[in-house]
């Protein structure tokens, strides 16, 4: 019944972007998208374009900042990096996720 890849759960993309920037440091949009795809190991159907609205959202909240730089193929590109507030938020949300996941697996384990 499980499909080879699933859509990104609501709110998860923002968290993935934050985590990526936290681990990898400043990245441009393509780098973030690729990292997320690599980590998902084919389990995720990501339209790479959708990360841009997510980046905008995070920047408006002040969790990431962006600056123009030069990419590996020598073109101007926008590099995003996480802020202190972003790290704090990441910690909160990661904690929330693991709690949710633990709870969900308990519930699903009981019912089966």
């Amino acid at each position: 019944m499980s499909p080879p890849s699933s859509a990104v759960p609501y709110g998860a993309l923002d968290l993935m972007v934050l985590k990526t920037l936290d681990t990898m440091g400043a990245q441009h949009g393509y780098g973030i998208a690729r990292r997320i795809e690599q980590m998902a190991e084919g389990m995720l159907a990501l339209n790479q374009g959708t990360i841009y609205p997510a980046l905008l959202r995070l920047e408006q909240k002040g969790w990431i900042v962006s600056d123009w730089g030069t990419s590996e193929n020598n073109r101007r590109a926008r590099f995003y990096s996480i802020t202190r507030a972003g790290r704090k938020q990441l910690a909160i949300e990661a904690d929330l996720w693991s709690k949710t996941v633990a709870m969900m697996s308990r519930m699903l384990g009981e019912s089966s």
Binding site: G29, N47, Q48, G49, P53, Q60, E72, R75, R76, A77
Partner: protein, 896 residues
């Protein structure tokens, strides 16, 4: 939304273009990198590019989401709506012009009234804590709730016990001639209590202000404080003015300082140029001993302000003063038995406590009228919008079909009417500003009594208020059409091909509106016409003298401290110098001239029938003139002689009377040589002159007495100069010569007799003002009626386009359709005209006291005005009617 994100989003709105470009660049870079990756995996460049696009997903969709996310959606939408509104308004210039003009009429009225109300009722005094200030007055009787002034003696008693108040201050208006550097100006001053400035919290711009305990006793140094504006105007802002001595009514006064600039705006209507201690009021105003402002308990001349202690309410303040009121009533029953205390906020006592309540009522009434007018104009625009909506129904349905939500549609249509209102506001503001400027000047002309100079400037409060009313007017006029349009069932209207469902009740409402407007404008125009006809007649009234080629000018030598002998010398010298001017034929002084603001009377009776002691003696108009006055004014001597130089103070008291008085006292017996009593003095009649008009141009013949100037030297007088030259050309010379005769005497109101008659209330002013006001309002009314009618007929034509198309296709002749449309307009116009004629008849009866030799039912006026309105109505409906006649059946039917 956090504040940070609102700022980011709002700023994003203004940087849309550059943000879009940045996103484009970012996306291109992303796609290149992705395609490079695919190429490395072995795809051809072309395949790699396509694969990259696939992996990226919908680019335009993403951009749209991005745009919505980064900006404020409603701001973007509003911008788009405004753009859309501007485009659609430009496509319908006649509609747009008519709607803007209509709303501009209403907004001009509201702006004007609001600016006036602001000055009289809303603007806070520019002093510290103006909200604590209350006006305190004593009304003469408990039933009359009109605040009066207070007497100085009462004020002293109230100030002894004022627990609820920090203190009370008082001021009174004074006029005097201020002489400095050999020139004299007549200025308005306030005589103020010693605590006036300290209690209000006014600071000096330079020098110092009057301080507590300063100038309280007669014999104290005479000091004067100038207003900032007068200091600039008269002394060019020279700081060395402090300490200098000027002469006021002939007495030396030391200038001690100038008030802060902001305090210039503290007054409504009566603007002082200077302040002197109240204790010097009697000296400045030449008040005779025994009538002193400072001593008489029945002289209620002072205007009093109190400053409430912090936290004390007006009611508590009043209660604390009532104790003194009761005590005074017990102690001084003769003057204070019935007096009642009136305490109101300072803003309710403008422009002064006596007329403040009347101004408030009038102000509120005018404000309500203006809002009503704005509502009527909004209704007119509603009618125009409805007409337009009818022809736009398909456009709106199409948008709805293409997925525009109803709220978006309503918002877009409302945007259109709000944009219209804003344009109307842009038209209305300068018009209102010009009208207000003229209104201010109209107030400011009278120099005989005091300097009246209202400040009706469009300050921020007015502008904000008008902007708010503009938006409201836009919303009000657009609400009904917007909802009607957006509600319309798109299936029905798309299929019906634009015939839309017009509801009959609304059509009735619009017809009634048009009829009402036609009626009202007819009434106003008829009133205006009657005034114009009266003005025509009034100009032909026999005045009793020849007003042509006369220049008049007035002087008040008593204000320079001159006694009777000095005044006499001044009058004689001045006349001699004027006679020396080329072209001057004659000149004569009179204590007052006909139709002047200043006049005088005297009690006159026959020795044989003295007045009874228990009733006041009858008063008759009386003036004093020099020997050449009758010749200068061309008043013929019917019997006897004019005055001569020998009729001086040492000679027998004599008088010249007019025919009415002669006939009244000595019917058919001849008046020459007879005597009568005037103000207790027996005088002998030496001459009789024809009747004239003395107080009002429209008065019935009344008795008049002339006495020689030399036998009773007046404080002031007006010189009448007859010449063979253009009066307007002579005015400047006369003013220069008179000021040169004696720089200490102020000469004012130098003008031609025509100007004098046109500007004074007793002259033609009432008629010309009446004619102007009613004509302006009538013209505005006609404009509104025409636009209302146009809107209605245009709306009906738009709705019936297809019907007309069918009729024409079936062979109806086009003029018949024109008649059909015009017929309805003509019916409405005639109902309006008949109703208006009835209204006008009522209004004219009310005005009949102001009409001269014109019947309130003057047929000529009614017929001319009605014909004019018929023409306007037909013209207004002809434009849409012609459109109906020219309907192309093919176009009209193809829309099916």
């Amino acid at each position: 939304m956090t504040r940070r994100s609102i700022v980011l989003r709002a700023s994003a709105f203004f940087r849309r273009r550059s943000l879009d470009a940045a996103l484009d660049e970012e996306v291109r870079g992303h796609l290149d990198l992705l395609a490079g990756e695919y190429e490395r995996r072995g795809l051809s460049p072309e395949e790699a590019r396509l694969a990259a696009r696939r992996a990226f997903g919908g680019i335009e969709q993403m951009k749209e989401t991005h745009r919505d996310g980064r900006g404020l959606r409603w701001l973007d939408d509003a911008w788009r709506d405004i753009y859309q509104a501007l485009r659609s308004l430009r496509r319908a210039p006649v509609f747009t012009g008519a709607a803007i003009l209509t709303l501009a009429v209403g907004l001009t009225a509201v702006t004007g009234i609001f600016a006036v109300l602001n000055a009289f009722m809303l603007r806070a005094m520019p002093v510290s804590h103006p909200e604590q200030l209350v006006s305190i007055g004593t009304a003469p009787d408990k039933h009359v709730q009109i605040p009066h002034g207070m007497s100085f003696v009462d004020l002293q008693d109230y100030r002894k016990d004022h627990a609820a108040f920090e203190d009370l201050l008082a001021y009174s208006v004074a006029i005097g001639a201020l002489n400095s550097d050999n020139t004299t100006e007549r200025i308005t001053m306030y005589g103020v209590t010693d605590n006036y400035f300290s209690l209000l919290g006014v600071q000096p711009a330079i020098g110092r202000l009057i301080q507590p305990d300063e100038g309280r006793a007669r014999g104290d140094a005479a000091v004067i404080v100038l207003t900032h504006e007068y200091w600039l105007a008269r002394f060019g802002g020279d700081p060395s003015i402090v300490g200098r001595t000027v002469r006021l009514t002939g007495r030396p006064f030391t200038v001690i300082g100038v008030t802060a600039k902001s305090f210039d705006k503290a007054h409504t209507l009566i603007y002082p140029s200077a302040y002197v201690p109240l204790w010097m009021y009697d000296d400045v105003m030449n008040v005779p001993a025994g009538e002193s402002v400072l001593q008489r308990r029945d002289n209620h001349q002072l205007w009093v302000l109190g400053r409430l202690n912090p936290g004390v309410t007006l009611t508590q303040g009043r209660a604390s003063l009532e104790v003194t009121t009761a005590a005074l009533a017990r102690e001084y029953p003769a003057t204070n038995k019935d007096s009642a205390l009136v305490v109101v906020p300072e803003m309710h006592a403008r422009p002064n406590p006596n007329i403040g309540p009347v101004f408030r009522i009038a102000g509120i009434a005018f404000g309500a009228l203006a809002v009503l007018l704005l509502l009527i104009t909004s209704a007119n625009v509603t009618s125009l919008l409805m007409a337009r909506a009818a022809s736009r129904e398909r456009e709106v349905s199409l948008r709805a079909a293409l997925g525009a939500g109803r709220s978006r549609l309503v918002r877009q249509l409302l945007t259109e009417s709000v944009v219209l209102a804003l344009f109307a506001g842009v038209v209305a503001l300068p018009v209102a500003a010009i009208a207000l400027r003229n209104f201010e000047h109209g107030f400011a002309t009278s120099t005989a009594i005091a300097t009246l100079r209202p400040d009706f400037s469009l300050d921020p409060r007015v502008l904000v208020g008008v902007l708010a009313l503009t938006l409201v007017a836009g919303l009000v006029s657009g609400l009904a059409p917007a909802f009607t349009a957006a509600r319309s069932d798109l299936n029905v209207s798309l299929k019906a091909g634009g015939r839309g469902a017009s509801s009959e009740p609304r059509a009735f409402f619009r017809s009634a509106l048009v009829v009402g407007q036609v009626a009202l404008s007819l009434m106003l125009l008829v009133s205006g016409g009657l005034f114009v006809r009266s003005l025509d007649h009034v100009r032909q009234v026999e005045l009793g003298f020849d007003p042509r080629n006369l220049v008049v000018s007035s002087a008040v030598p008593s204000e320079s401290g001159y006694d009777a002998e000095q005044r006499s010398t001044y009058f004689t010298n001045a006349r001699q110098r004027i006679l020396a001017l080329p072209g001057v034929e004659n000149a004569g002084w009179a204590q007052w001239i006909p139709m002047a603001t200043v006049s005088d009377g005297a009690s006159v009776w026959l020795e044989s029938t003295p007045p009874r002691s228990d009733e006041p003696p009858p008063t008759t108009a009386a003036t004093r003139v020099d020997p050449s006055y009758f010749a200068a004014a061309s008043i013929p001597i019917l019997e006897g002689r004019a005055f001569t130089e020998r009729d001086d103070a040492d000679a027998m008291p004599v008088a010249i009377v007019n025919q009415t008085l002669a006939n009244q006292f000595w019917p058919k017996q001849g008046a020459i040589g007879r005597s009568f009593v005037i103000d207790g003095t027996s005088v002998q009649v030496v001459g009789v002159v024809p009747n004239g008009k003395y107080y009002f141009v429209w008065e019935s013949p009344r008795p008049m007495v002339f006495r020689p100037l030399a036998q009773n030297m007046p404080l002031r007088a007006t010189l009448v100069v007859r010449s063979t030259r253009q009066p307007s050309e002579l005015m400047g010379e006369i003013q220069r010569v008179l000021r040169g005769v004696d720089p200490a005497v102020f000469v004012y109101d130098v003008r031609t007799m025509d100007q004098h008659l046109a500007s004074e209330g007793g002259g033609f002013a009432a008629f010309s003002i009446g004619a102007m006001v009613t004509s302006v309002f009538g013209a505005a009314g006609v404009l509104l009626a025409a636009i209302g009618l146009y809107g209605m007929i245009a709306g009906r034509v738009a709705l019936r386009t297809k019907e007309f198309g069918v009729r024409i296709a079936l062979g109806a002749n086009r003029p018949a359709i024109l008649r059909d449309v015009l017929g309805r307009a003509a019916r409405l116009a005639s109902i309006g005209i008949v109703a208006g004629a009835v209204l006008a008849a009522f209004a004219a009866r009310g005005l009949s006291a102001l009409l001269l030799d014109v019947s309130p039912f003057d047929p000529l006026t009614y017929v001319v005005v009605s014909l004019f309105l018929v023409c306007v109505c037909l013209f207004a409906s002809f434009i849409p009617a012609r459109r109906a006649m020219r309907v192309d059946p093919i176009v009209a039917l193809r829309a099916e």
